[in-house]
């Protein structure tokens, strides 16, 4: 179920973790290594969140998306031109294994619904909402808050266009529900999502996940 990478010439596991511990400290790295984080949607937000968390040494990532890599994704999402046409779950897991060979990545190539979200997300300590569509975002957030109230949820809203980077922020809406973004910039007209601003928002989400794992949280 949790596949470990089989790659070529890579550092040994012990060296890998010793290096992470040297960067984060042993205690913090253990918290990261023991964590399971689910990422719902593997587009501009989700693929960038996944890369940040994999690099930080988060132990298990649950990657969920029903879609395939499209050429129109490549301007902001962590896929490669040769991966166009692949399932995003498989393509991202492949890329993450190259980045973090000892991370464990579980993939579900399926659409998340009100009916299946409990089953898909039950193993996660923290869930990232990383959908594109506003109504789907609301469905997932309501579903998690109602059915999985014990989970931490890190959602995002408002990161389109070329607005100021500093307008992207993180807000603790409820005890276990954080919202990242400027909450207003939506995709409309010709100016859609710009890689850097989507990455800023994804970085807010990934950073919030790491802060929750570390036990340092805003009031």
């Amino acid at each position: 179920m949790w596949e470990v990478a089989e790659l070529g010439n890579i550092p040994e596991k012990e060296v890998w973790y010793r290096t992470l511990e040297a960067r984060h400290g042993k205690e913090l790295q253990e918290k990261f290594s023991e964590a399971t984080v689910a990422i719902c949607g593997l587009g501009g937000l989700g693929s960038n969140i996944a890369v940040a968390l994999a690099r930080a040494g988060v132990g298990k990532l649950i990657l969920i998306d029903f879609d395939r890599v499209d050429i129109s994704n490549l301007h902001r999402q962590q896929y490669k031109a040769v991966q166009v046409g692949q399932c995003k779950t498989e393509a991202l897991a492949e890329n993450l294994r190259e980045i973090s060979p000892y991370g464990l990545f579980q993939t579900y190539t399926t659409k998340i619904t009100e009916e299946n979200l409990q089953e898909l997300l039950k193993e996660a300590d923290i869930i990232c909402e990383a959908f594109d569509d506003a109504e789907e975002k609301a469905m997932l957030v309501n579903g998690i808050l109602e059915k999985l109230p014990e989970k931490y949820l890190v959602s995002a809203s408002g990161m389109a266009g070329l607005g100021p980077a500093n307008d992207i922020r993180t807000r603790r809406v409820m005890k276990r529900f954080y919202l990242c973004g400027d909450e207003v910039s939506e995709v409309r007209g010709e100016l859609g999502l710009i890689s850097s601003r989507v990455m800023l928002c994804a970085a807010h989400q990934a950073h919030t996940v790491l802060r929750i794992l570390a036990g340092v949280q805003e009031e």
Partner: protein, 64 residues
């Protein structure tokens, strides 16, 4: 008075659904929290707003 998204509103006695009907919120794009807990969608019509309640309506926009 009821505090909704930081503003004092004179809507005590109304249900959440009645209040939302007076706003521009798109019901398919929101999540509502009252006094620290989520209000399930199915309870909007039966949730009565009371003096001193703090309500937050989070409205999602597209993009990700």
């Amino acid at each position: 008075m009821i505090k909704i998204n930081g503003m004092s509103c004179d809507v005590a006695g109304k249900t959440l659904a009645e209040y939302l009907a007076t706003t521009n919120f798109n019901l398919a794009r929101i999540a509502v929290e009252k006094n620290g807990d989520v209000v399930p969608k199915a309870q909007y019509e039966t949730t009565v707003l009371e003096d001193g309640d703090t309500v937050e309506v989070v409205s999602f926009v597209g993009g990700g």
